[in-house]
Symmetry: C2
Subunit: 293 residues, 2 copies
């Protein structure tokens, strides 16, 4: 078994409502999702795991991703997560069905939510013309997961999907305001403007950092749907219906970070994505999870 | 007369609708206002003047501020501004009445809008309980300008004003996520939480940079009103009723920057406030305006 580094895991089990929500991603992108969760659900505690040592997930096989996701879920359950959020589009597409099946097989009663369905739901609810746009990485576009999710809600909606090969890396490198970035953003907007969409799904957790530019280029009447905003509602709904909302009456909850790579790099990059103080970042070694002691 | 450095001013006068909107502030804070204008009014051109050489305005006398504002307006009219926006709370409080009077005396037909009234209007429209909060600098709170503006719209609304002496400088120094900043933000929220406000006016253009933290501490049901969002609607309304909306049919307008201090410092600090690419920053010497050639 992995060395248990969390203090909380050796404490007696807290009552289910007081447990944290577990959020994970391949890196720092999911912090834009956590950002929304922290703003919309201030009373909850959160534990975020960034698998930065194995970042990026984009080129991994579905089998690899499913394996990574299982290790991460193991770690978050060890931290007594009451709900799991997959804040990563690649991991959601590759591993969510496996994780859902696994959670259903256990008697833990812990649900797992991904980023795709909540956005599809909110986009369909927002559109007035039935023409929705999608900006995402080539892998996510190729997976057709948003297309399926949108069709499942409303088969009459048309989805114009634009693959953006360089956008996430431009944003992660902190170059989102240079000329090349602006040209890239302008370029990905062209097919959306031509299709006359009135709602655009930001299908990558990095994209909220360029949403002002997107909003300006697409025009003020276009609704942008981000993973974080859509997920926050879904998480709130899931907690409420299961009677799992934190009973804290005042003050904000706690949030902490685990990462598999360099903690200082995570902190430095992470603050820009979280847009809030980052606090403690703890290193965690997932490769050892499930290995003999 | 001042040396004319703008190319446009030697061109033949463009038709009124195609002229830029002039926006000014003592420094970079007003860029959060420009940010909203760029997103909400993408077809318009803008010229922004930051009077960074004389920053901050907080300690200046009303006479000094009125003098500065007149020089700035002179420069922006020289740049053929079709509408003027005072994106600074101190300058609005001190100089708006003088500027309004001056504009009424001219035959230019150029209107001037400040930040206080639009926010008061929007806050009164947003509140359900009639309890509004205000976060602002001590000078702005002492001026009671928000109190008057709110009362003018609805005398039955109560305003809980909290003076924040250090918040703007913490944000400007880029320290908005350190422990001291978090403690400061938490502290200013206490009287607002005690008063049970459901709407909070961000009465300083720097505060939108900490709005996620504020939203989390105040809770998701509290509506935050920022200068930029409130002003954008007012500007749109002013342009529409005067038939002055830019007739541009596609693509975004142009925006450019003038500053009285160091242009590189303006660019570096400015990008964080604008959250968009900054482009050209031109140095302008206002002290010469109106002086003999």
């Amino acid at each position: 078994m992995a060395r248990v580094t969390s203090a909380s895991s050796s404490d007696p089990a807290p009552e289910p409502r007081a447990r944290p929500i577990g959020v994970f991603d391949s890196g720092v992108g999911g912090l834009t999702v956590l950002h929304e969760l922290l703003v919309q659900l201030p009373c909850e505690d959160f534990v975020y795991l960034g698998d930065t040592a194995r970042f990026p997930y984009g080129e991994r096989t579905p089998e690899e991703l499913a394996g990574f996701a299982s290790q991460i879920v193991e770690e978050l359950l060890r931290r007594r997560a009451k709900l799991l959020v997959v804040a990563c589009n690649s991991a959601t597409a590759a591993a969510l069905p496996i994780l859902e099946r696994r959670m259903m097989e256990t008697t833990l009663g812990v649900d797992v939510l991904g980023v795709v369905r909540p956005e599809a739901l909110q986009a369909v609810a927002a559109t007035r013309t039935g023409r929705i746009g999608l900006l995402a990485t080539p892998t996510t576009v190729a997976s057709r997961s948003y297309e399926r999710a949108v069709s499942a809600v409303d088969p009459h909606v048309t989805l114009t999907a634009v693959a953006c090969p360089t956008l996430a890396s431009i944003i992660q490198a902190g170059q989102q305001f240079d000329e090349r970035a602006v040209d890239t953003v302008r370029e990905v907007c062209v097919p959306l403007l031509e299709a006359g969409v009135d709602t655009v799904i930001l299908g990558c957790t990095h994209y909220p950092l360029i949403s002002p530019m997107l909003q300006r280029m697409l025009g003020p009447s276009v609704t942008l749907i981000s993973s974080g905003g859509a997920l926050a509602r879904q998480v709130e709904h899931a907690l409420s219906t299961r009677g799992l909302r934190n009973p804290r009456e005042q003050g904000e909850g706690d949030y902490r970070f685990l990462c598999t790579g360099d903690t200082e790099a995570f902190r430095e990059l992470g603050t820009r994505f979280l847009q809030m103080p980052l606090g403690t970042v703890e290193h965690v070694d997932l490769e050892q999870v499930g290995a003999p002691a």
